[in-house]
Subunit: 130 residues, 2 copies
DNA sequence: ATGACTGCAAAGACTTTGCATCTTT
DNA sequence: AAAGATGCAAAGTCTTTGCAGTCAT
């Protein structure tokens, strides 16, 4: 078990939660997932820590799905699939993020590219069969 | 000049505005751009019509930049660059959206892909030189 | 008359922030 | 004592909605 000082229990729980799930959760999803083990955790704490992790490069935001920000503990570039029906977010590790395109982008737009994000949209397996 | 019936003046103005700009504007940006010629246009009307155009496939949303939804009159798939400093959104027409990857995605995730979005993030020309 | 578009203000949804409290050093 | 983390409630921001008024058929 974890024996982190009480001061960091919530923060650690939030990061662990994000690392152990495949759901690419929102703040509220994390809050819901943590309530069984941390009944008194506040949604504000989840938001605050997610912002802190993000600012420190420990997690990454996928952007918003239906107006709700979704997070990913995997900070390595990878491709996502988003179900437009149930808002599920899946990793697509089989697909490579095109690497060389960044240079082309820099040359053609006169900009400095730091990252690139490739996302597919459609219906996930369950939603396609309904 | 346009001689649309009064009933559709605002709606047409919003679509024209979006078609004539390269800024990939938000609802509020459109509202600001239209106020000189339509001093009484309401932000609610902009939001309502953008939702309507989107639902009818006439425009497309890029997703949110800093929590604000941005729109594009170009519904053809194309690549975007987003400046993380000034929130500018640029088209990258020189870069091709990878086409065959959708099939790979479908096979690997058991999903039905409808579209794909490739976006680069970084600093635009002006922001890089500041 | 009926249906459609709009402005205004109110409501809604998601996120951030202020403040008091508690913990660690 | 000082710095940091948290809960709670309030505030903030972007977006949607209800309603009355106007326009077109």
């Amino acid at each position: 078990m974890e024996s982190s000082p009480k001061q960091f229990q919530k923060r650690n729980a939030i990061l662990d939660c994000l690392r152990q799930t495949e759901r690419h959760p929102s703040a509220e999803m994390i809050h819901d997932m943590l309530r069984p083990t941390h009944p008194d955790i506040s949604l504000a704490t989840v938001y605050r820590n997610l912002a802190w992790f993000k600012a420190n490069g420990m997690i990454r935001s996928l952007g918003t799905v239906n107006g709700i920000e979704r997070f990913d503990a995997n900070t390595q570039p990878h491709v996502h699939f988003i179900c437009t029906c149930c808002d599920a977010v899946l990793d697509l590790p089989q697909i490579e993020v095109p690497r060389n395109l960044g240079d082309t982008a820099e040359r053609s737009a006169g900009c400095r590219v730091k990252e690139c994000q490739l996302t597919f949209f459609g219906l996930c397996g369950s939603c396609a069969n309904s």
